[in-house]
């Protein structure tokens, strides 16, 4: 699709840009419960949904909110909820139901420090939870990871389209920094990702003139559940073939590639610019989809390097690291995949990154 560059530049917080993108993408229902650092999204949408005649409901809990999303999505509406880590944990049963029922919806997680009540600072420690389903059973969600306010805006629009196309949950995995950051971005009109989306002929609308539609996830005493699981896995395999978003920066001829996403990728890029300025060949590989992980591209890059070295930096104790190791399993010895992680709401720094690179490259 050709981008329509009619949008003007505006200043907004990431959490608000997510809200405005949902409005532009035709989100009909939004249900949420307050939690820092995502609360600007419900605050913003409480006004905008009302102004645009849509449904905004402050739920009694995250559990209620996700089960409202379940109902709205089953009824055929574009629906969204947002929360932060403890709230996302609460939603997991509902996320599993929605995944089993193969309904489309969008969930935003502005990740904060954990475990427990943790803190309200930025974190990426929900990576495993998001990329491996998070609730019970064998299922996946598409996970998008913006690193700017422009991407918060664009990816939220994309999320609705991807959800409808594949009948899957699309998670926006933000962190406290991106959610809270204010930055100028182009607030363009809705740019659909696909020319056509499948009709929602499964939606619950009353069965006038057709057989009843039944949205269920219980399969007792038949091979129905085995069949559903097979269908789901086929769908996930198809998504893995069709979807892998990433950004590469200075990876050409690099002797070390740093892998980072979200806020950390911004800090990493700043460090890389300094390193490149002093002649060090260091590149950035930034996954923009966390699931599916752009593993194939990462392996290709490794294949082009003479003595491949990778450094993973993330605001967690080595969660994305696992996906990098899996992607590079056949091409890079494990000892050449370095790791720098921080937890408890700490984020990386340019100085720390420079120091780590110095240690690796000498």
């Amino acid at each position: 699709m050709e981008a329509t560059h009619t949008g003007k530049k505006v200043l907004m917080k990431g959490n608000e840009a997510v809200g405005e993108a949902a409005i532009k993408a035709g989100c009909q229902c939004y249900f949420a419960y307050p939690i820092t650092p995502q609360t600007e999204t419900p605050e913003y949408l409480s006004r905008r949904m009302e102004e645009t005649g849509r449904i905004f409901l402050q739920a009694e809990s995250e559990v209620a909110a996700i089960n409202m999303v379940f109902g709205a999505a089953a009824a055929g509406a574009r629906a969204m909820t947002s929360s932060s880590s403890p709230g996302i944990s609460l939603k997991q049963e509902g996320i599993s139901y929605i995944s089993a029922a193969q309904l489309p919806c969008v969930i935003v997680n502005v990740v904060r420090g954990g475990p427990g009540l943790g803190n309200i600072d930025a974190s990426q420690a929900d990576y495993i939870q998001s990329t491996r389903g998070g609730g019970h059973g064998d299922y996946r969600c598409i996970v998008l990871a913006p690193n700017s306010i422009q991407e918060c805006y664009d990816m939220t629009m994309n999320a609705f389209d991807l959800a409808d196309k594949y009948r899957i949950i699309v998670m926006i995995q933000n962190d406290g920094i991106i959610g809270q950051m204010v930055e100028a971005f182009e607030m363009h009109e809705y740019i659909p990702l696909f020319d056509n989306l499948p009709a929602k002929d499964w939606a619950l609308t009353g069965c006038r003139g057709r057989q009843p539609n039944v949205c269920h996830t219980l399969y007792l005493g038949t091979n129905g559940l085995e069949k559903l699981n097979r269908q789901l896995q086929e769908k996930y395999a198809r998504i893995q073939r069709e979807l892998a978003w990433f950004e590469e920066y200075a990876c050409e001829n690099a002797e070390l590639i740093i892998v980072a996403y979200g806020a950390v990728s911004r800090i990493t890029k700043a460090a890389i610019k300094q390193l490149n300025g002093s002649g060090r060949r260091v590149g950035l590989f930034r996954p923009r989809t966390l699931w599916p992980y752009p593993s194939q591209r990462l392996a290709e890059l490794a294949g082009k390097m003479k003595k491949p070295k990778f450094l993973v930096i993330e605001m967690s104790a080595g969660q994305m690291l696992i996906d990098v190791q899996l992607a590079l399993m056949d091409v890079v010895p494990k000892k050449d995949i370095y790791f720098e992680g921080m937890g408890g709401g700490w984020y990386s720094s340019v100085e720390g990154t420079l120091k780590k690179v110095q240690e690796i490259l000498g």
């Binding site: 229902c29 619950l204 609308t205």
Partner: protein
Amino acid sequence: MTQTILKRQPSSITEGSTHYCGGCGHGITLRLIGEVVDELGVRENMILTSPVGCAVVMYDYLKCDSIECAHGRAPATGTAIKRVHPDKFVLIYQGDGDLAAIGTAEIIHAANRGENLTVIFVNNAVYGMTGGQMAPTTLIGQRTTTSPFGRTIKGMGRPIRICELLSNIEETKYIERVSVHNVRNIQKAKAAIKKAFNNQINGVGFSLVEILSMCPIGWRLSPQQSQKYIEEQMLHYFPLGVYRDVEY
């Protein structure tokens, strides 16, 4: 009148038998709902939320669009469906474990928002589907698989009376407790269900009908003994009647 109730199968209900045990109140309630759906002609304009519990596969019996909700969450899921389709009839069907234990928050808040929904709440004083464990509605002294010595107030609390609780919420419009343990009461139950349906259709607001219901298997009683159990035990603690009716 009695004979008609027992003989003709409502057309909104699928042919053939259900999985409900002999003497179970769910079967009777299903039939009453089917009759009301037929009489009001709402089958093609309705969406059913079925609960986690014995009624989970109710969509196999009632021929309408349906969604199987997570345990206790039907009032939240139904709220969203009704908000998306305000012109459709949304039926919420829940058991007492579903509504009065795990789902207390969802029912209270749906009631408090005054959602224009019809809730059929089947109170059989146990968790039927999982094999007769103690429910929030289990009577004092009642033996279940998780209260083998009988329920005591100390440590287990008293049975929760949902009609009394919810009728304190000003946004509720109609709350009634009925029973299906004999023909006279079955007829009253049907009238209450119909009123709760009509309320939603006429935009009146939140209506809930609690139905005292036999669970012979869960109670380890015969169907006849179960009917007697309602008459002699449950009715004392759960008085039948209208708890709230805001005429518009």
